[in-house]
Symmetry: C2
C-alpha cells in the first residue's frame, strides 16, 4: 500500500494539514500559494487526480477542492506522522498539573480527562483503572435507622463499592462490627473464587454479608471497565462540522449512553495497535455514531493486572500529529501512577 511517490505523500500531507486547519476543501491554487511549492498548480492537480483515483482524496462536488477520505487519513496517520513524541514543554505542563494533584486520588481521573481535552482540543474519555480479579480488603457495616445496613466494601487497589443489606430484624451495631471483623480476618486478600470456596458460616448475619460481598465482587469483575470520565464535549461541538445536522446529537448520544462507550472501548482495545495508540477513523463502517468522527485510544496500567483506557474523540478532521503523542504520553503517565499506588499488595 506504500505505493505513493514522495511528492504524492507531500501533497496528501499538505491537503490533510490544510483541511484540518480550515475545514474547507482545498484546491491546487491554494496549496501552491500557502506552502510556496515549487511546482505549478497543474502538476498539483495531476497528482491530486492520482490521489483521488487511489481513494485518498475526494471532491465534495465537481468543482470544489479536495478533501481527505477515511483512507487518506489512515494513510496519513500510519505513514506520515506516526513516529513523533510530544514536545518537551507540553509534557512538562502536564506532568506539573499531575504533580500538584498527586495526593488527591479522587481527582486523578477527572484531571486526566480535563487535560486530555484541553491539549487535544477535542472530547476526552478516561476510564478508571480496573482489575479483572478483585482481592478483598475490608468490609464495613454501617447501621441505619431500621433494619437496613449500608455495606461498604473496599478492595485492595482501593476500589470501593456500596450496597444495602436488609435484615430480617434489627441488629445492634456491635454485633455487626464483630461479624465484619470476623469476615475481614477470613477474607483478607482473597479472590472471588477463594471466598466462594469458604464453607458457609454458621451465623446467618455473616452468611448474608458474605453473599452480598461475593455478589459485589462478581459484579465488579463482570464490568468491562471502571467508571468513565468525560470532558471537553464542547470542544467538538464547536467544530464547524457539528454546527448543524444531527451529527452533534449523535455525538452527544454516544457520550451519554455509557454502554455504547463501553462497547467502543472494549472492542477497540483488542485490535492491533500503533505505537500503543489506536486510531479509529470514521467508525470503520462499524460505528454508525461516529460517521464523521475519529477516536484515538490507548490502554494504560499493568496488562493483565489492572488496566484502564483513555482516549480522545473528535471530528475526523483532527490534528493527529498532536493528538496521538498526547494520548500516548497521558497513557504512560497514568501507567506510572497506577503502578506506583495501585499495586504492591499483590506481592505480599
Amino acid at each position: 500500500m506504500n505505493d505513493l511517490t514522495e511528492r504524492q505523500r507531500l501533497i496528501l500531507a499538505l491537503v490533510v494539514r490544510h483541511y484540518t486547519e480550515t475545514a474547507q476543501p482545498v484546491g491546487s491554487q491554494r496549496l501552491v500559494d500557502c506552502y510556496k511549492l515549487n511546482m505549478s498548480t497543474a502538476t498539483v492537480r495531476n497528482e491530486m487526480g492520482m490521489l483521488t483515483e487511489c481513494g485518498y482524496l475526494r471532491q465534495p462536488h465537481t468543482s470544489a477542492g479536495r478533501v481527505p477520505t477515511e483512507e487518506g487519513y489512515r494513510y496519513f496517520v500510519t505513514h506520515v506522522v506516526y513516529p513523533s513524541d510530544l514536545p518537551e514543554p507540553a509534557r512538562d505542563t502536564i506532568s506539573h498539573q499531575f504533580y500538584q494533584a498527586r495526593q488527591d486520588v479522587e481527582v486523578w481521573m477527572p484531571l486526566a480527562a480535563s487535560i486530555l481535552a484541553q491539549h487535544s482540543r477535542a472530547a476526552s474519555i478516561v476510564t478508571a483503572p480496573h482489575s479483572e480479579r478483585s482481592h478483598y480488603k475490608h468490609v464495613e457495616l454501617i447501621s441505619t435507622q431500621g433494619r437496613q445496613v449500608l455495606m461498604v466494601l473496599v478492595m485492595t487497589g482501593g476500589e470501593v463499592s456500596q450496597q444495602i443489606l436488609t435484615l430480617a430484624e434489627p441488629v445492634a451495631q456491635e454485633r455487626m462490627s464483630a461479624a465484619a471483623d470476623r469476615l475481614n480476618q477470613i477474607c483478607l486478600g482473597r479472590t472471588t473464587e477463594e471466598i466462594a470456596a469458604i464453607p458457609p458460616r454458621a451465623d446467618s448475619l455473616e452468611k448474608d454479608i458474605l453473599t452480598l460481598v461475593l455478589q459485589d465482587m462478581n459484579r465488579g469483575e463482570q464490568r468491562v471497565s471502571g467508571e468513565i470520565y468525560l470532558d471537553g464535549l464542547t470542544n467538538v461541538l464547536s467544530e464547524p462540522e457539528f454546527l448543524e445536522s444531527g451529527d452533534a446529537r449523535r455525538a452527544v448520544h454516544l457520550f451519554e449512553e455509557r454502554s455504547l462507550l463501553q462497547d467502543l472501548l472494549a472492542r477497540t482495545t483488542n485490535n492491533a495497535t500503533v505505537g500503543g495508540v489506536q486510531v479509529l477513523i470514521g467508525g470503520e463502517g462499524k460505528w454508525e455514531e461516529l460517521k464523521q468522527c475519529s477516536v484515538v485510544l490507548a490502554r494504560y496500567g499493568i496488562p493483565g493486572l489492572i488496566t484502564g483506557t483513555l482516549g480522545v474523540f473528535g471530528p475526523m478532521r483532527m490534528p493527529y500529529a498532536r493528538t496521538i503523542p498526547t494520548v500516548r504520553f497521558m497513557a504512560d503517565l497514568l501507567s506510572g501512577l497506577v503502578s506506583e499506588t495501585m499495586v504492591g499488595d499483590e506481592n505480599e
Copy 2:
C-alpha cells in the same frame, strides 16, 4: 398581578400549551380551530392584544402568531398549573424502578437522573445527598509498593473519600493497621471540630493520618453539594430551538462546567419555593447560559442534616404541567430513601 380575566387566562394557557407542543408561533385562527373555542378569531385577537400589552405574549415579527414571554410562562406556572399531582401510573412506574434497585446504593443517583430525564423529556441534574457536618466512621490504610499509602475514609452516612499519603519511610502494613485501629476508636462518630480538638498524637504516623483525615472532612464540608449526576442531554439537544445557533453549545457547556452548575444549584435553593419546587425561567437575567432555557429544581433529604438537589433543565418551552409534579415526586421519593438509609447513626 392576578389581573387577568378568566378568558384571558384560558387563552394564555392555550397559547402556552400549543406552543410547547408545536414550537411554532400560534395565531388566533389556529387556536380557535384546534380547541373548538366558541368565540371568533377576532375576539381571540383582541384578547391576545391585551395579553401582549401586559407583557405575557409577544410576536416574533409583525405578522406572526404569538409566543409566550418569560412573564407569560411565569404567570402560567404560578397561576395555572401549580396545584397538581403526578398521575398515578407514572408514580407507580417510577416507584417500581426504584424498588428494583433498592439494594444498589451506587445506582440510585444515576437511576434518579435517568428516570427524571426520561419522564420530563429534558436534561436532568441530580446531586448526591450531602451533609453539612461530617461524622467520622472509619479509616482504612492500604499499603502500596513504595512509601505511598492509600487512605480510605468512610463517614457515617456512607460518604467515602480517598487520599494518598506519602510517608518518609516505608511502614509495615501491621503498624498501619494498628494506627488506623487506634484512630478509629478515638474518632468514631466525631465531627470535624471534635477531631480537631483531639490532643496531637505522639506517634508521627497517626499524626499524619489525622491531618489528612481532617483535611478530607473539611473539604467534604466545604463542598456545596455531593457529586453531580446528569442525564438526558440529548433530549434537549433534539429540541428544535437548539438545532442551530450556538445555544446548544452553551447548554452543553453549562452541563460540562460543574462549577457553573454548582453555582446555579447553590444560588437557587435559597430562594422562595413553590410547593417545594422552584422554577427558574429564562435565567431571570442572571444566567447568560440559559437565555432560552428553564430549570425546575427541588431539594430533597432532611433539611439541615443531609440534603441534595435535583432538577430538570430544558427549553423555556417546557411542559411544566408534567415536569413540575415529576420533579416534586422524585424529590419526595429520594427524601424517603435518604431518611431510611442515610441517618440513624445520628441518634445514637
